[in-house]
């Protein structure tokens, strides 16, 4: 059961890179296709906030790379984890001219990061051991029945 650490998609768009760049990086753009509302402080180290109708959380994007109109990247938290969890995934958009349009690639990586609590602690997540234990348990329950 491999954890997909890296998600990658490529899409060909009819519009030139500058138009796609606007859609990716402006508040109107991010609040149009990505979320329902957004504010963007477009600079490396800047923050963008994205909200969705009917959701009570707000995504906080920390902008990392701003290279118009070819590269845009941010980090953000992993949905479902506590806000204080330091793990964040890295999202990078690459825009390449393609015919009159744009080939857009998005890569999100970092899902398989380990929480700090699991690093350097006595964690015994040994799958082989677990399988053996399960077999033992089955025998045990069988005998008890």
């Amino acid at each position: 059961m491999p954890i997909p650490d890296r998600i990658e998609r490529t899409i060909d768009l009819a519009q030139p890179p500058q138009r796609v760049w606007e859609a990716l990086t402006s508040a109107e753009g991010l609040g149009g296709w990505f979320g329902d509302r957004a504010t963007v402080d477009l600079r490396p180290g800047g923050t963008a906030y994205v909200e969705w109708d009917g959701e009570d959380f707000k995504a906080t994007l920390t902008i990392v790379v701003v290279e118009p109109p070819t590269r845009f990247a941010w980090t953000w938290g992993i949905q479902g984890l506590p806000a204080a969890d330091p793990r964040r995934t890295y999202v990078e958009f690459t825009l390449a001219p393609s015919g009159g349009g744009t080939r857009l690639t998005v890569v999100e990586s970092g899902f398989a990061q380990l929480p700090d609590e699991l690093l350097g602690t006595a964690y015994h997540g040994n799958v082989e051991g677990w399988r053996k234990e399960l077999a033992e348990l089955a025998d045990y329950l069988h005998a008890a029945a």
């Binding site: 508040a27 296709w33 699991l118 348990l137």
Partner: protein, 131 residues
Amino acid sequence: MPRPDPEAVAEAVFAALAEPTRRSILSALAARGPMTATGLADVLPISRQAITKHLELLAAAGLVLAEPGERRRIRYRVNAAPMAIAQSYLAALARDWDSKLARLQRSLDAPAAQPEAAAPRLLSRQEGDGQ
């Protein structure tokens, strides 16, 4: 100390959750807080012996932690860290870039149909939830 393999951790979490008795033990510990095997046997329709065996498995997988104490009085509590790994696995499945990129394509193809796009831009800058 060898670095734990996230896949092994996720596997242990899902294996634990796939079994109804272990699910009910974890649910009871999540709902009621740390308990002994005897305490769990009082609230679950499972023998103390079976509960003890399951608790050993859960502890070996790092899903519960045994608090120090004399043998019969050891209390177990849920250890959230492995759950967080399983959660990030689920998050990867739920990220849904396909829908988002389809929306991007639609919005680019129909730029005129967004008269309200400029209106709701005032967001308070509450620090929040990192999404």
